[in-house]
């Protein structure tokens, strides 16, 4: 069964569409990531799901019922806000208890649930503090506990890690994912960070300008991008795109773009590659350059394992013969959509 189903959701702000016809079905227990650049409508879509915004058109189903007309409190979803939205004048305990109190849950049940949620997130020693006495990571856990405590149909998270520093972020990513798997809660997670998306999502929906470009597992998104936008948005450095003689485009990932002698077997396509610059990053070497005979809007990059490629072998200004296995080449038509066969 699907926990959340969106059908052709459109949201316009003063005639300008922020969400432009999104259809998405999220099965029970799935961790769905909405990935897209800033301003593409992710937050707006999330706010429509929880009912803070009313869609201009389209249907929304949560837990099997159409909720278009329902206010947020009758939708049974929980949301964690970008800066957490903790209630500054309540203690942590009352913050977590709040969603239950609004539903007039009996006192003993509230206490039990608060206990459960705070232990689950390891914050039971903080219950009598106020939000301003907490660190960033602790605040995030309180916000999570509050979102969980009433056992929502779905949990919505809007860029929850953007307020943490880089070190905490990796840890928190792990924590959220672990805990979601343990509880099996349907989760919709919004981010503009592709590393987060790839690492956490069961499936990823890539959004651009209020449209879904592709929905798929991280592997599908990475290996079989549906169009040029997805191909170049996901991956770092992004997929190389060159114009094809037939009027379409050819794409290949930098890590598949290797000196010809490194490609052991199978059919491959060769390119003349002029090296302009290279960067040594420890675990790999990134080489920038241009191709002979192919047009491209960006600089072509190659990602080489440094053990295999010594700096002596790749110098700026030199021409080399590089190749891509044919199985790793992706073809796109004139409009940038994935050509079906390759």
């Amino acid at each position: 069964m699907s926990a959340v189903i969106a059908r052709d959701i459109v949201k316009k702000f003063a005639e300008v569409p922020a969400v432009n016809g999104i259809s998405l079905s999220i099965p029970d227990g799935e961790f769905m990531v909405l990935l897209g650049p800033s301003g593409c409508g992710k937050t707006t879509f999330l706010r429509i799901i929880c009912g803070l915004e009313q869609q201009t058109s389209g249907d929304l189903m949560i837990g099997g019922a159409i909720v278009n007309e329902l206010p947020p409190r009758a939708r049974g979803v929980a949301m964690m806000f970008q800066s957490y939205g903790l209630y500054p004048h309540y203690t942590v305990r009352n913050n977590i208890a709040f969603p239950l109190k609004t539903q007039r849950v009996p006192r003993e049940k509230i206490n039990k649930q608060v206990e459960w949620a705070s232990q689950l997130l390891g914050i039971d020693h903080l219950l009598d503090r106020r939000p301003r006495q907490l660190s960033g990571g602790e605040r995030q856990r309180v916000a999570l506990a509050r979102a969980l405590v009433r056992e929502p149909t779905a949990l919505l998270l809007d860029e929850p890690l953007s307020n943490l520093d880089a070190k905490l972020r990796t840890m928190a990513r792990q924590e959220i994912k672990n805990f979601q798997q343990r509880v099996g809660l349907t989760t919709i997670y919004v981010t503009h960070d592709q590393v987060e998306a790839m690492g956490m999502g069961d499936r990823i929906a890539v959004i651009d300008h209020g449209n879904i470009r592709q929905v798929g597992t991280p592997t599908e998104i990475y290996n079989d991008p549906a169009d040029l936008f997805v191909a170049t948005f996901v991956g770092s450095p992004p997929m190389n795109i060159v114009t094809h003689s037939g009027g379409g485009y050819l794409g290949f990932r930098p890590e598949n773009f290797l000196p010809k002698n490194m490609i052991e077997d199978g059919a491959a396509t060769e390119f003349k590659f002029r090296v302009d610059r290279s960067e040594y990053l420890g675990a790999e070497r990134i080489v920038y350059g241009v191709l002979d005979g192919f047009e491209s809007k960006q600089i072509i990059t190659a990602k080489l394992p440094p053990a295999h490629v010594d700096e002596k072998n790749i110098r700026p200004g030199e021409w080399h013969t590089f190749a891509v296995k044919n199985s790793e080449l992706r073809q796109f038509d004139k409009n940038g959509n994935r050509a079906t066969s390759h």
């Binding site: 029970d28 227990g29 949560i62 837990g63 019922a65 909720v67 007309e69 329902l70 206010p71 409190r73 009758a74 939708r75 049974g76 056992e151 929502p152 149909t153 343990r182 509880v183 099996g184 809660l185």
Partner: protein, 309 residues
């Protein structure tokens, strides 16, 4: 799932969720304030306009429509031109004086010095004390017999007791007193407004101008003044509106006298409409303030708009 979601409560009726619509909710929250203001500001304003076009007095409360004849009566009254002129002198004289004093005061108070807090608290007193009470104190200061100014003039042998000024009894002096008192009342407001403006000019803008070779005057008039202009304009608009329509200073200091020398529109409207009970003519006099107020309001709107772009 380790936890099972309880079924969502289904709505009993749509009416239940009417209050959950933001527009309905917001309309309900603003309604009391808007209704209060409509009933006791909007309605009276319309009534004032109607009275001015009718023959209504408290002795003969008819609603007879008489067109513009009240306005014609008012304009033909020989004292009216003077009242109108007094109102403008009172308003612009005192605002100009207040602004000039205020600007200097603001430059003095900009710099930190020991005791600045206390000095500021004392300097804002004129704006803070109820104007009626301050006016009474000024009336005592200008007393015909015991005026402290006259005592000082005599004590310093500048004048003789026989020819000291009768401040409130001489027409032009009385007008001057009214202007001075209002300027005195508003200059602290001007100081505070200037200070708010000056402290909001980022120091790096001033530094950049200095580095670019702008001297003191250029910095002042080409960089700082344009930046604080909006804030000063809003302060000035306030001053103009509340001075142009004020009647308490004149009422408590001179009663419009001597011989109408200090009568202003607000006071004349009060005298005719309330003291004499001639509501329709009183309303007509008061409505002469409306065009000026409208001009001010248009300016105000432009400033608010510009701020929000």
């Amino acid at each position: 799932m380790a936890v099972i979601a309880e079924p969502v409560a289904k709505p009993v009726s749509r009416l239940n969720f009417l209050l959950d619509r933001r527009d309905v909710f917001e309309a309900i929250l603003v309604a009391p304030a808007v209704i209060y203001v409509l009933l006791l500001v909007g309605l009276p304003l319309l009534l004032a306009i109607y009275y001015s076009l009718s023959a209504y007095t408290i002795y003969d409360p008819t609603w007879k429509f008489v067109g513009l004849s009240n306005f014609i009566d008012v304009v033909e009254n020989p004292t009216f031109p003077q009242t109108l002129a007094n109102t403008f002198i009172f308003t612009f004289g005192s605002q100009l004086l207040g602004l000039v004093i205020g600007k200097f005061g603001a430059f003095l108070l900009l710099r930190p010095f020991p005791g600045r807090k206390i000095v500021r608290a004392l300097i804002v007193l004129p704006f803070v004390i109820p104007v009626a009470l301050a006016t009474i104190a000024w009336r005592w200061l200008f007393d015909s017999l015991y005026s402290v100014f006259n005592w000082t003039l005599i004590a310093l042998h500048i004048m003789d007791r026989a020819d000291v000024p009768n401040w409130l009894g001489t027409p032009w002096l009385a007008m001057l007193c009214v202007v001075i008192i209002n300027a005195w009342r508003f200059f602290p407001f001007a100081i505070v407004i200037f200070l708010a403006g000056l402290t909001s000019v980022p120091q790096d803008v001033i530094d950049a101008a200095t580095v670019d070779g702008a001297g003191f005057w250029r910095r002042n008039y080409q960089i700082i003044l344009p930046m604080i202009l909006p804030i000063v304009a809003i302060g000035l608009i306030f001053g103009i509106v509340f001075t142009f329509t004020d009647l308490s200073i004149v009422f408590l200091l001179t009663m419009g006298g001597p011989v109408n020398a200090t009568s202003v529109l607000g006071f004349a409207g009060f005298q005719t409409g309330i003291i004499s009970g001639d509501v329709s003519h009183g309303a007509a006099i008061s409505l002469f303030m409306l065009p000026v107020l409208l001009v001010v309001v248009v300016f105000m709107l432009r400033f608010i708009r510009r701020r929000e772009i």
